[in-house]
């Protein structure tokens, strides 16, 4: 028996249906629960009471398989329209796109996209929550066509979906949460040049087909296959512009340390994609520091806020610091290795326990054991260990870096990008 507020009815109904239990009883009460007084909570409990008793003891209608089938098992393989305009308008009306114009996925275009993968059309790459629908090579290809991808981008998308489906990433929660996280893809290796991915000026921004369309294709798969539709399977309060497209490449030539993929245990000749449950990038502006310590102090201060999820989740998440080349050069010139930088930031980017307790969602059980919860002056890190602060260099000239907090209860996952078979 599940109690649910009015704001979450859509997700609760969708989820029970998608898991094959469309008739699961719900007790529906007013929203919200968090941030309310005990008197309000007691009233909510009274409002739920009769529904809970009825749900535990009453008859449950059984629409069974027929209702389960409505989750998409009967989804049409194709649509026919009078003309392109009707097709485009219908896709918009049925919420089959992200709100922007798109390329119509005709059979010829989809076939060409599938060929770019070197795989069978029907191969299942991932099961995508919260709709728990299969993402086949063909499904991915359709959405890649819509996003404006070229066929040679398919191996990146396939590896990224496999990474996002890893249980450590927690895609269900990343998709359904009220938090504004997106699935950020970080690409490292020779494929960056091969696909002309941008890693210089504006590396988080628009203007480059490979970055823009790969990131958009991931979002379309998450929406069309996974059901991450705002207000339905995606309960984000605000969402984020990062949810349109979020594909970033490493500036390896400007990296004073080993490449990102090597730091993650892959070979230098490999190409990899790493998925992060990232918020949009938060700027780190420092035009004056000339030493590693002062530059990293500015970085650490930017990471040290109590509003992002990592401040509360700590041991369950990781974060990304994206150094601009100039900041990276300043830091490395001081002789600091990647591990040194991680250790420095781990020790400096900490919040006071007393401040964290102001947060309704601070969770001491998610803090390292050694943090003294009784001491308001004790300082709690934002991740469980230095290695959970990931470091990459991206972008062009300028005195800026970026901090990317994550969903918190999610770990980044790296996959090798396999060439077409």
């Amino acid at each position: 028996m599940t109690i649910c507020t009015e704001a979450f009815i859509g997700l609760a109904r969708e989820e029970s249906k998608n898991l094959g239990m469309p008739d699961l009883p719900l007790a529906i009460i007013k929203h919200p629960i968090g941030g309310e007084s005990l008197a309000v909570i007691r009233q909510r409990a009274e409002d739920a009471l009769e529904q809970v008793i009825r749900g535990l003891t009453g008859e449950v209608a059984s629409r069974g398989a027929a209702a389960a089938a409505s989750t998409g098992a009967t989804a049409p393989e194709s649509f026919t329209f009078a003309d392109e305009d009707e097709a485009l308008e219908t896709f918009h009306a049925r919420r089959l796109t992200d709100g922007l114009p798109f390329v119509l996925p005709t059979a010829d275009r989809v076939r060409a996209m599938i060929a770019g993968s070197g795989r069978r059309a029907g191969e299942v790459i991932a099961v995508v929550p919260p709709r728990w629908a299969e993402a086949t090579v063909e499904n991915i290809a359709v959405n890649a066509v819509m996003a404006g991808c070229r066929p040679q981008y398919m191996p990146v998308l396939i590896a990224a979906l496999q990474a996002a489906a890893d249980p450590a990433f927690g895609l269900y929660s990343v998709q359904a949460t009220t938090h504004p996280c997106a699935v950020m893809m970080l690409i490292s290796g020779p494929i960056v040049d091969e696909l002309a991915l941008n890693f210089r000026h504006g590396s988080f921004g628009p203007g480059f087909r490979a970055n823009a369309s790969i990131g958009r294709a991931m979002r379309l798969v998450l929406m069309n296959v996974g059901g991450g539709i705002p207000g339905e399977g995606d309960q984000a309060t605000h969402g984020s512009p990062a949810k349109f497209s979020y594909c970033v490449a490493e500036n390896e030539a400007a990296t004073p340390w080993e490449p990102f993929r090597v730091a993650r245990g892959f070979g230098k000749s490999d190409s990899t994609v790493t998925v992060f449950s990232g918020e949009g990038p938060h700027n780190i502006n420092d035009h004056v520091c000339t030493s590693a310590e002062t530059t990293l102090t500015v970085v650490a201060d930017t990471m040290t806020t109590i509003g992002h999820n990592n401040a509360g989740s700590v041991v369950r998440g990781d974060v990304l610091v994206a150094f601009g080349p100039e900041h990276a050069h300043t830091v490395a010139s001081g002789g600091m290795s990647r591990a040194d930088v991680q250790k420095f930031l781990y020790e400096r980017a900490r919040n006071k326990v007393g401040l964290l307790k102001l947060r309704a969602m601070y969770k001491a059980e998610n803090w390292p054991d050694w943090v003294d919860q009784s001491d308001d002056e004790a300082r709690c890190p934002i991740v469980g260990k230095p290695e959970d602060i990931h470091i990459v260099v991206t972008g062009g000239p300028g005195k800026h870096s970026a901090f990317i907090p994550t969903f918190g209860t999610s770990k980044s996952v790296t996959r090798k990008i396999e060439p077409p078979r």
């Binding site: 997700l11 629960i33 389960a68 194709s78 005709t106």
Partner: protein
């Protein structure tokens, strides 16, 4: 003007129909379960619901199982199911 056919971008859910646990005849003599997701105020809500049920039925108590985070699946549910006659969960913020 020629018609145009496009391929569906939707995926297919193959979960299939799952049985729902049979409902109870009565809550009298039942040990209730509170499966809590650690969201603020959620435990207070569930505990109050169980308390109110206790005013109408002679339940034999409640066993609380708390997840460390709403984003993490509960472990040990099979064993938990043997401890209790029914479970009350909650989602939302």
């Amino acid at each position: 003007m020629s018609r145009i056919t496009v391929v569906s971008p939707l995926g297919v859910n193959r979960v299939g129909s799952q049985p729902i646990a049979p409902r109870l005849r009565s809550l009298d003599g039942v040990t209730l379960g509170i499966l809590n997701n650690s969201k603020p105020n959620s435990l207070e809500l569930q505990q109050r619901v169980v308390e109110l049920i206790g005013q109408h039925h002679s339940v034999t108590g409640a066993v609380t199982k708390q997840k460390p985070s709403a984003a993490i699946g509960a472990e040990g549910l099979d064993a938990y199911a043997k401890e209790v006659g029914a479970v009350i969960t909650a989602i939302s913020d």
